[in-house]
């Protein structure tokens, strides 16, 4: 794991959080879109919050794909679940929402889960194409990778 790879993981977390909150803000501004009238969704793109939100979610998808190309799914998913914590923190600071003790417990459990995978190896699976043999992933050969 290089510094650049940690940056990609951080990108997944930040882009998905910001993208979702901008989309939510834009859609609230537009009011409810009827499930029977999808044309409303087409015009939603014209809303600046929605369009910036979509660009951020595209950035999220690009960094997610990049991470999956060099790390396990069971590493990437927990490692990027900090976005749930980030949403709560943004809600607390930006919107002054109260965070209940149960939510604090949830935040603590997610953080603990992230800690569990973060200290382990990022990749354990044998890549499917032979151009990238396991030798390219020295972490995978460490004893940590054994179940």
């Amino acid at each position: 794991m290089t510094f650049r790879k940690y940056l990609v993981l951080a990108g997944i977390t930040v882009f998905s959080t910001l993208g979702d909150s901008l989309l939510a803000r834009g859609m609230k501004e537009l009011g409810g879109v009827s499930l029977h009238d999808f044309s409303g969704l087409l015009f939603a793109i014209l809303n600046p919050w929605v369009s910036v939100g979509i660009v951020l979610l595209l950035a999220f998808f690009a960094s997610y794909m990049s991470a999956l190309s060099w790390a396990d799914l069971t590493y990437v998913l927990p490692a990027t679940s900090l976005s749930y914590v980030l949403v709560a923190v943004v809600a607390r600071i930006r919107f002054h929402e109260q965070i209940s003790p149960t939510r604090w417990l949830g935040i603590a459990l997610i953080a603990a889960g992230v800690g569990f995978v973060a200290v382990g190896p990022a990749v354990s699976s044998v890549p499917h194409n032979l151009e990238h043999p396991l030798n390219d992933y020295p972490e995978a050969l460490s004893p940590e990778a054994k179940p």
Partner: protein, 126 residues
């Protein structure tokens, strides 16, 4: 009755999202380390390798199914039930599917992480 529909939607979202994640992870492992390919062959090589991987589009399709099931699930059930229940079940389902289909070594550490995050996500909604 609405509860039954909501849980049916949750099951569908979990199934489609897990299928999508597994297919996308499989495709990207086939493509290879995107950073390395970019460095040696340029961005165009990265994009064309991804776009010539058929399972990538199946993954995107499964993600679209998950997204639309979420929309329909939200029209039947509460936001505070559908979103955390499906997100939290997807973490556990992904750990099982990654072990079976992607041959990832899901050791005790990874299991603990999946279960802790799944429980944490569920608690965030309470």
């Amino acid at each position: 009755m609405n509860d039954l529909y909501a849980w049916a939607a949750i099951a569908l979202i979990t199934f489609a999202a897990t299928t999508g994640d597994v297919l996308l992870a499989y495709s990207m492992k086939r493509v290879g380390d995107v950073g390395e390919i970019w460095k040696t062959n340029g961005l165009f090589a990265v994009v064309s390798r991804i776009l010539t991987t058929p399972t990538f589009f199946l993954g995107v399709l499964a993600m679209a199914v998950a997204f639309y099931s979420l929309l329909f699930g939200l029209s039947w059930g509460n936001l505070s039930l559908v979103v955390p229940a499906s997100a939290s079940l997807t973490f556990v389902a992904n750990a099982i599917a990654a072990r079976i289909f992607l041959h990832e070594r899901v050791g005790r550490r990874r299991w603990m992480a999946a279960l802790l995050v799944a429980t944490g996500v569920a608690l965030m909604a309470v």
